[in-house]
Symmetry: C2
Subunit: 272 residues, 2 copies
């Protein structure tokens, strides 16, 4: 007998996975957490019914969240990650030898525990000595601190449940307060096919606070529409300042770097 | 009561659509043809159980099949389309005033008839005086002729059913015979997530016949993995020779043109 998992992206369209078995299922204080072994995409993490990552395609999302920002910085000593308890973003950050410390601020300890147990491909570097994990609300954490990050990555889940506050102007202000003057923040910013309104709103708000705000795109087959966006914001110029690209990447390369900000006409027009 | 249409891309993953109603369903001598009104993607054409196009996203596929090749030609007098009975490719070709004739070679007359009746958004230009439609097997047609096309577009369905022969070396030889010396052929070439082997094989075979063979990509949310590939082959150089881009396009623009051949590392490595 076959078992299927379906995620609807809107009221009419979704993605369906054949499931070999459910490896984990529980409710944390924040959300429902499930891990499946899928038929063709390897292991899959699902939060509140939404696909967060699969073993087969997570490399695109994590590489594209992290590496473009590093290309725009000569040196990065201190990096932060909001969300991202699966560890994939931290794994990519640690590929740069100049990084001295990475702070992971994840609200839900169970996500980290489940990832360490079932998702070794993303969580493998969470025990690195350069990494500190804070189990706190990212909004509250940044409000109360002044961390002076070189780079900050907002690796949030979709704007439902615990992640809603991560799309507010107040949160963007707290981010700015915690960045060095030449710091850069990168947000995962949802699907251009399903959430163009969210993207537009986010860019509008970020432009009130930062001099440079740009969108870029990458294909992630298990995310809504198979195509994802990232938003990068900073008060410095977004020009390539580092030639080094870590070895062994599967998506990001020199050619992707050079063409990062090429946008299709309908997206360019939508975000103005 | 809700009705759903599901297409599986491999044995474990698929896309699911909520259907408002079925507008058409019949078996032609070649394939099963269905037209649905979907909940969120407008009208949808399905051949042998596979999504061929939807009203909401067909613009990406048709623009990206057609416009890059036009950018590489100063002038195009005669263009051909193999398959493409829905008319979307012809619609894009006719946006260039230098085009004098377009030959559409479609094996299945019922696809054209159904498209003219239900898919006005793609078929609207099939009655243009510059268009001639031949209801013939594209392989046989090209074998027996010597058309000297400036541009030829292989707008085939997936390599199952009537389209299998469109992926053979013999077919590529017939194409070359029907192109001018500086002619260009463009193939839709399947999903890099699901059919990387097909892509690799096609490029290897085309390189035996043409001096320049290149792959490029575009996001189509209702195709497998939401990401699609196109292969362009010619004996001339693939450099931009035409600045004109038709007005009103929703995907293709100058910026996409400049960055057309940027490929992710895993795809670059796969195709060599």
């Amino acid at each position: 007998m076959n078992q299927f998992f379906t995620e609807f992206h809107d009221k009419g369209t979704g993605i369906i996975f054949k499931i070999k078995r459910e490896l984990f299922s529980a409710k944390s204080p924040y959300q429902e957490i499930k891990v499946f072994e899928t038929e063709t995409f390897g292991r899959m993490l699902v939060l509140d019914g939404l696909v967060m990552l699969t073993e087969r395609d997570e490399f695109v999302y994590h590489e594209m969240l992290v590496h473009p920002a590093f290309s725009f910085k000569e040196q990065v000593k201190k990096a932060g990650v909001i969300g991202g308890g699966d560890g994939g973003t931290v794994r990519e950050i640690l590929k740069y030898p100049d990084v001295e410390s990475v702070l992971l601020i994840e609200i839900d300890k169970m996500v980290v525990e489940v990832s360490e147990r079932y998702l070794e491909f993303t969580s493998s570097r969470l025990k690195d000595e350069r990494v500190s994990i804070y189990y706190e609300d990212g909004v509250k954490y940044l409000n109360e601190r002044n961390e002076r990050f070189d780079l900050l990555f907002v690796d949030s889940s979709d704007p439902v449940g615990p992640a809603v506050a991560l799309y507010s102007l107040d949160f963007y202000k707290s981010i700015k307060k915690n960045l060095k003057d030449d710091g850069i923040v990168v947000f995962q910013s949802e699907s251009p096919w399903y959430h163009l309104g969210v993207i537009k709103e986010q860019i509008k708000n970020l432009k009130r606070l930062f001099k440079e705000v740009k969108l870029y795109l990458a294909p992630v087959p298990t995310y809504p529409g198979g195509f994802w966006s990232f938003t990068i914001a900073t008060d410095t110029e977004l020009v390539v300042k580092r030639d080094y690209i870590p070895e062994g990447l599967k998506y990001y390369n020199k050619s992707i770097q050079e063409h990062l900000f090429a946008l299709p006409e309908f997206i360019k027009n939508a975000i103005g």
